[in-house]
């Protein structure tokens, strides 16, 4: 049995920032199913928010108000306040670690405008900010390699739970196929989001709900899963991201008639309205037959920015356009469509990243979560661009501090290694034993399709009910899938199957919570209930697993400084 004082699952921004905190005192194991540098945080392009005021005066209060308004007032404001207040410090710390930032002429960290933010608040490194921070943190981990052991290409299967205490994780080494138990005084999940359940998504193949579902399986409720953000500028058909920075730098959105249609939806902020509003505007244009060439596609036009600005500020976006669809944005507009991008919901945690067992704040001891897999909730119903990297860094650090406080001087808990291993080995064996009459690929595609069309940008009761039925059917078919690779060595097929199982579960949570929430708020839009309904729904959803199926309870929203008001841009 492997032992570490603390094991962190996930090596993106949240996981690595957490590891840096914990390794100051305790021995850390960091588990990643890819490599740290391959984590999806690296794909974040546009920036990381903080009210540094380097180009215009700014304040944490304005950052907080923008975040709460952007979240459609579902954010827990006590958490938001601490989060935005911490922002400048954590950015300076990243800079001190060596993170590469674009600079103002005076040598300060440069900041640009971003959707939903009233001030230019996005600190950036050209259009690869996530990449720059990810590598800076990875560099620090390499510097601290004596106290941090990184398990590259290891997969987390389940949590080891003893009553109300978490004592470790069951994992397997993807390279060798060996199953192992890692015993730890504390476990931190920083496992990211689950955009892969949708057909069009910006997410990496790795974004498959592994962490969220592992938590759910040990009785943790999932908070606000219905709130999924659709990013307005996914590459047509592929879904990969063209950063909001393209609009931050002044890009236009044009419909098939060449009109800047945002005029009709958010006249004051235009293209820089929050993502949920822009994505819906795009979908509405496309649904009304005003897509480019009548297709599900809108134009992102950067031509008026000129070659010099594009090359300086958006070079990667230009290259993506050239490589992936052969369009050079200096001379032609880019075809885009809304793409599933970010999960506002997730594992419920308090401000200190302690995982919650219920709405009353009962803790699962020794279990922490941070980053996209967690729901604090600082983003409420819709996250503003550049707030996610900040979330990962702020709460990665906080999780680290909480873990130290918890695990310092603690003993290891009891772990029945044989039993824990046997459970995962049986999971493998079950998959190998299936009768093989169904194609996992078909099941995956059908899940993605139904989630996109029936639980996507626009939702209604009829579609959601049909979606839930389809998912039930898919779960039955999933039990009869066909396996070709029964080997142990780097068997990527078996992991894709396990991930698909997780995604089918996650999809049901999303659709069920979406059906229950009969209002429209943030990223969740019901065409049959197009208005926000604070009387009935100004609360978080908490989805529990019960023997009879999913049960949804509520949790109050923490409102401190800003009372809910109509959200207009």
């Amino acid at each position: 049995m492997i032992e570490h004082d603390v094991v962190i699952v996930g090596a993106g921004l949240a996981g690595m920032r957490c590891a840096l905190e914990v390794c100051k005192e305790l021995d850390v194991g960091v588990l990643t199913k890819v490599y740290p540098s391959r984590s999806h945080s690296g794909a974040a392009q546009g920036g990381i928010a903080a009210s540094l005021g380097n180009s215009e005066p700014d304040s944490w209060e304005e950052h907080m108000y923008d975040t709460v308004k952007g979240g459609d007032f579902l954010n827990d404001q006590d958490a938001v306040e601490e989060y935005v207040k911490a922002a400048p410090r954590v950015i300076y710390e990243l800079e001190h670690m060596g993170c590469v930032f674009s600079r103002t002429p005076e040598g300060k960290i440069a900041q640009r405008a971003f959707g939903g933010h009233s001030k230019p608040r996005a600190c950036f490194s050209a259009d690869r900010t996530g990449h720059a921070i990810l590598h800076a943190l990875h560099e620090q981990l390499m510097k601290n390699s004596k106290s941090v052991k990184i398990y590259n290409e290891w997969y987390m299967h389940s949590l080891v739970i003893d009553g109300d205490r978490c004592n470790g994780v069951v994992v397997s080494n993807i390279q060798t196929g060996e199953v192992e138990v890692i015993r730890a005084k504390a476990v931190v999940f920083a496992t990211g989001g689950y955009g892969r359940v949708f057909k069009i998504t910006s997410n990496a193949f790795a974004g498959t709900a592994d962490g969220v579902m592992a938590a759910f399986e040990v009785g943790i409720p999932i908070e606000d899963p219905e709130f999924v953000q659709f990013h307005p500028s996914g590459l047509y058909r592929q879904g990969i991201l063209f950063s909001e920075a393209a609009r931050g730098e002044g890009g236009y959105l044009l419909n098939g008639k060449g009109e800047r249609f945002m005029e009709a939806y958010a006249p004051s902020r235009m293209e820089l309205a929050p993502r949920d509003i822009v994505a819906r505007a795009e979908q509405s244009e496309m649904d009304a037959g005003r897509g480019v060439n009548g297709e599900d596609c809108i134009h992102l036009d950067l031509r008026h920015l000129g070659e010099a600005r594009i090359m300086e500020r958006l070079p990667q976006i230009r290259q993506l356009g050239i490589d992936f669809i052969g369009v050079d944005c200096i001379t032609d507009p880019l075809p885009i469509q809304p793409t599933a991008h970010y999960s506002m919901g997730g594992i419920p945690v308090d401000k200190g990243c302690h995982v919650q067992l219920d709405s009353e704040g009962t803790r699962m001891n020794g279990f922490f979560a941070a980053g996209e897999c967690a729901c604090v909730s600082v983003h409420g119903g819709n996250r503003l661009g550049t707030n996610s990297l900040l979330d990962a860094v702020v709460f990665g650090e906080r999780a680290g501090k909480s873990v130290l406080e918890y695990a310092r001087g603690k003993d290891f808990g009891n772990v029945n290694e044989g039993q824990e291993k046997a459970r995962v080995l049986k999971k493998f064996e079950d998959i190998f034993q299936r009768d093989g009459s169904e194609s996992y690929n078909d099941i995956r595609n059908e899940m993605k399709e139904v989630m996109m069309t029936k639980c996507g940008v626009f939702r209604d009761e009829e579609r959601l009910k049909a979606c839930i039925e389809t998912l039930k059917d898919l779960k039955v078919r999933f039990q009869k899938g066909k396996v070709t690779d029964k080997g142990k060595l780097f068997n990527t097929e078996i992991y894709e199957i396990i991930e698909l199982g997780n995604m089918l579960g996650m999809a049901s949570l999303i659709a069920t919570a979406a059906l229950r929430r009969q209002e429209s708020r943030g990223g969740h839009f019901r065409t049959d209930f197009p208005k926000r309904d604070d009387d009935k729904f100004l609360h978080h959803s908490m989805v529990y697993g019960t023997p009879d199926g999913l049960e949804i309870k509520t949790k109050p929203v923490v409102i401190t400084k800003y009372q809910p008001e109509e959200r207009k841009y």
């Binding site: 391959r38 300076y92 800079e95 001190h96 002429p105 300060k108 080997g487």
Partner: protein, 313 residues
């Protein structure tokens, strides 16, 4: 219909790799990675390769296609079709295969670790950010785009014959710190990087520049480190002596004096090194291939000298 010739390897079943062919209609607009997924998901689920982001930023899906390393997600399948309608896929080179297209990255990361890949700051950090001008940022902008995909490492010509070479990715990463205005260890870094296995073992083949999917272009970064090393006076090695001897020769005559460069590179007090030059010297002497003893200058050499002077060289 395209034929994908894929190098398969599964030591659990068979010790030697072999090629297997798959037929696939490449969907319009499909990337190479999309094609590989079509094969895996529809034809043979046991095919193993790495992938994650699909947008050329995570660096997982580097493979060799038609003999050269690239990111599978970054290229259109159709563009890789050869005249005979085939695409040949192999694992990255210079690393040991694990299964199919998956290779062992351990030596790659070991070498990245060797160059001390983290900032060693000059002083205690200020309250806010350290100042860095846009010009200073530009010096590390390109190297900081590296995604550690290993494409350069795969096709590096020096690595094919010398495992000891740090390789292009680690050296590009090193430039990221050598040229960072916030770093305090520039001298130490260029000294370490001038050791055998470092910058001077780069053979200038530029394969790394060609394979790099980002603007990192390792060979260009290696040359930047060389310039810093020479500026900092780290001259006690054959590479630096070679560059200095070469440049001085051009300064004197406008041309390279081949008779001087060899002994000056190994060092004129390096007796074993000089002895090592004797066989080649003798061979060339016997064939009349020794350059003229009296090295002639180009016409208008004074203008060349003037340029050297103007640039303080």
């Amino acid at each position: 219909m395209a034929t994908f010739r894929i190098k398969r390897f599964n030591p659990e079943k068979q010790p030697e790799p072999y090629f297997e062919e798959f037929q696939l209609d490449i969907p319009h607009g499909a990337t190479l990675l999309d094609c590989m997924n079509e094969i895996k998901w529809k034809l043979d689920g046991s095919l193993s390769y790495r992938m994650s982001c699909r947008s050329a930023i995570c660096g997982s899906c580097a493979v060799k296609a038609n003999g050269h390393a690239l990111l599978a997600c970054q290229r259109q399948g159709e563009h890789l079709l050869q005249d005979d309608d085939t695409i040949t896929l192999e694992p990255l080179g210079n690393m040991k295969p694990v299964k199919d297209l998956v290779v062992d990255f351990t030596p790659f990361w070991d070498k990245v670790n060797k160059i001390k890949p983290y900032l060693e700051p000059k002083e205690e950090p200020p309250e806010k950010e350290r100042q860095q001008s846009p010009e200073q940022f530009r010096l590390i902008d390109d190297s900081s785009t590296c995604i550690m995909c290993g494409a350069c490492y795969s096709d590096c010509n020096t690595l094919e014959v010398d495992d000891n070479f740090l390789g292009p990715a680690a050296l590009a990463k090193a430039q990221r710190f050598v040229s960072d205005s916030r770093d305090s260890k520039t001298m130490q870094r260029v000294q370490d990087l001038s050791e055998p296995g470092g910058i001077w073992d780069c053979t200038h083949c530029a394969e790394c520049v060609e394979r790099c999917p980002k603007p990192a272009r390792p060979f260009d970064r290696i040359k930047e480190i060389m310039t810093v090393a020479l500026e900092k006076g780290v001259h006690n090695n054959n590479g630096a002596r070679h560059a200095l001897s070469f440049t001085n020769s051009v300064k004197r005559s406008g041309l390279l004096n081949e008779n001087r460069i060899a002994p000056e590179s190994v060092g004129i007090f390096n007796i074993p090194g000089l002895l090592g030059l004797i066989p080649i010297g003798l061979r060339m002497l016997l064939k009349g291939k020794i350059p003229p003893i009296f090295h002639k200058s180009i016409e208008e050499v004074d203008d060349v000298k003037r340029i050297f002077k103007e640039l303080n060289q």
